[in-house]
């Protein structure tokens, strides 16, 4: 990492790690897996400099359980992994949701199913946004599309996690984790210290004991607990939707994409304009809460003839797009899997086909 004037050329994975430290994270627990191991390398070195804790856990399950313990003790804690490792952590995700612990997890996605491959993919959208673990819960899911955004959203994730006492998940992909771009640190990155009077830090003889738990055997109490969680999720849906839109005014076709594919689509928007096709882009930055209203409003636009969702999977976010569009316009899908990235040309071909009324894949 070279310091080049005020902007620093960093790998995405390094930007995540540095952002966490600047956001006040002093407890990191991880297990090696490609393509995100640079985060562990960075943490192993930097945590010593800043008086923090780096633990290489025996498993992904242990790492997320350590995060549970550390978050419950009041710390800003984080673990990071890639798809197969994130599957293992789903048990911890569910317990953290039930116990309402604030923490940050990063998934630098690779391809599946199974051991799959190490190249970029977005096959974990369902897992990230719809659950993955058991029970009714939500994670706040952020989807960066550049190294600068990896940095900023990781910082923001700690504040969001503290504010709502939820797990905040950064859903990146192998391309973003591995690539380098300039990063500009923001002033005053550390979120304000949150008051955590619920944390288990020892009673000091000053208060009744605190308990961190997700088990409520009494059904009425458990339903009440669930209703409280749902009310919190509804508040997040009202307050925290983030989305970038490009060229929706007068657009013929609206493309939805997040992460790396959204970057590719930005080039396609220019190529399409050259041949007179007006393409708009909706790039969700929060995948949950999903920008349903923004997609729905785009569907109301007279100029918009159809939607196209471009993803690195077999069609996952497109289901949320369809729910938002609600039958008002046709919704097409263009996806690649296995670590393959769509070329600008092939996306443009799909858009041309839609314009001709032939539909996408």
């Amino acid at each position: 990492m070279g310091r080049l004037s005020n902007r620093i050329l960093m790998k995405g994975n390094e930007a995540i790690a540095e952002a966490a430290i600047r956001a006040g994270c002093r407890h990191y627990f991880g297990y090696p897996i490609t393509p995100q191991t640079e985060i562990s390398h960075y943490m192993a070195k930097r945590m010593r400099d800043v008086g923090g804790v780096f633990v290489q856990a025996e498993s992904e399950i242990a790492a997320i359980s350590m995060v549970y313990g550390a978050a419950g003790a009041g710390a800003r804690a984080m673990t990071t992994s890639s798809s197969p490792g994130i599957s293992l952590k789903q048990e911890g995700f569910s317990y953290i949701a039930g116990a309402e612990l604030p923490c940050v997890v990063v998934n630098v996605e690779r391809c599946g199913p199974g051991l799959g491959g190490i190249l970029p993919a977005q096959g974990d959208y369902f897992q990230a946004t719809k659950g993955g673990g058991h029970g009714d819960y939500r994670n706040l899911v952020l989807a960066p599309a550049s190294v600068q955004e990896l940095y900023e959203l990781t910082v923001d994730a700690f504040a969001l996690a503290d504010r709502y006492r939820v797990l905040c998940l950064i859903l990146a992909d192998g391309t973003l984790g591995q690539m380098m771009e300039p990063v500009l640190y923001r002033e005053d990155d550390a979120p304000r210290p949150a008051t955590k009077d619920w944390a288990t830090t020892g009673t000091k003889g000053q208060r009744p004991h605190n308990v961190i738990t997700s088990i409520y055997i009494d059904p009425e109490i458990l339903e009440t607990h669930n209703l409280k969680l749902q009310a919190k999720y509804a508040e997040i849906e009202r307050n925290e939707v983030r989305c970038e839109t490009v060229g929706l005014e007068g657009a013929d076709i609206v493309v939805t994409a997040f992460g790396t594919p959204a970057r590719i689509v930005k080039n396609v928007v220019r190529m399409a304009a050259d041949e007179g096709i007006r393409v708009g882009l909706i790039r969700p930055i929060t995948l949950w809460p999903f920008p349903t209203k923004i997609v729905a409003e785009a569907a109301e636009r007279e100029s918009v003839k159809a939607f196209l969702s471009v993803e690195l999977n077999a069609g996952q976010m497109v289901e949320d797009v369809r729910l938002a569009v609600n039958g008002r316009k046709p919704v097409h899908f263009h996806g690649r899997m296995g670590g393959m990235l769509p070329t600008q040309r092939e996306i443009l071909d799909t858009i041309r086909a839609i314009v001709r009324g032939e539909g996408g894949k």
Binding site: A57, A62, S65, T200, H209, V211, I215
Partner: protein, 250 residues
């Protein structure tokens, strides 16, 4: 009138939910008494497991976290790394610690995490109604070994203390039982030593307590105590497996 006995301040005034003849209550009391006597209660965070003692956070007067099945040592690691001056303990049964949580206990011990584990071994899954545990004895009848545990298909009991004692990070490992007044006193001494080992920052400490499950064993409470003394101690001999020479009282 002189006060000769008082409920420990380490336990809240809540009735236990444990079955008649179960020895969890005794072990809870010993842990709570030791924490109070050492002046550690106010700075202690305990971790409850999954199993019959899943909700012992309702009993202990210190701060508590409830962990996923088997993950208590990892949760305790997270707590201790945030609060190095706190006393952190896990309270785990044999299914939690020696089956689903084997990796977590082995690695917490190997790292020499400065935490204390109270391992209650009653050779059976109690809460889920009497299934075979990793510590079930050969020939022992359970709901999932209805013809007696058969080594040919169900393998052998795990001796946790002996296994963990091979790890350098596990500096104090002892097995006790609570079937007699003498045994209970010895158990309390062991639990005290385990917490002192932690207080002195020496490493990981574990006390295994041979315990009863009259309900799922199909025995009376008295028969159960006798079975611990005869059958269980034959498989799981009492004694110190690591740290016999450690001097922690000074």
């Amino acid at each position: 009138m002189a006060l000769v006995y008082q409920r420990t301040q380490g336990l809240l005034d809540v009735p236990f939910h444990y079955c008649p003849g179960c020895t969890h209550g005794i072990v809870h009391k010993l842990v709570a008494e030791v924490l109070v006597e050492l002046g550690l209660l106010d700075s202690t965070v305990g971790v409850s497991p999954v199993g019959c003692t899943y909700n012992n956070y309702e009993y202990f007067a210190c701060d508590m976290q409830q962990a996923a099945h088997g993950r208590a040592p990892a949760v305790a690691t997270g707590i201790k790394r945030v609060l190095p001056d706190a006393t952190v303990f896990t309270y785990q049964g044999d299914g939690d610690l020696a089956a689903i949580g084997t990796a977590e206990i082995v690695h917490a011990a190997a790292r020499g995490e400065k935490i204390t584990t109270i391992f209650v071994n009653n050779a059976i899954y109690g809460m889920t109604s009497g299934q075979m545990a990793p510590t079930t004895l050969l020939g022992q009848v359970t709901t999932t070994s209805p013809f007696g545990r058969d080594a040919a298909t169900q393998g052998y009991p795990i001796n946790v203390c002996e296994m963990l004692a091979t790890l350098r990070g596990a500096v104090y490992v002892e097995r006790v039982s609570v079937t007699s007044i003498k045994g209970i006193r010895a158990a309390k001494k062991a639990i005290r030593k385990a917490f002192l080992v932690q207080k002195k920052g020496l490493g990981f400490s574990l006390v295994e307590v041979l315990s009863t499950c009259p309900t799922n064993w199909g025995k009376s409470p008295v028969e159960s105590l006798q079975w611990v003394d005869s059958a269980m101690t034959a498989q799981y001999p009492l004694g110190v497996f690591r740290g016999a020479d450690l001097e922690v009282e000074t």
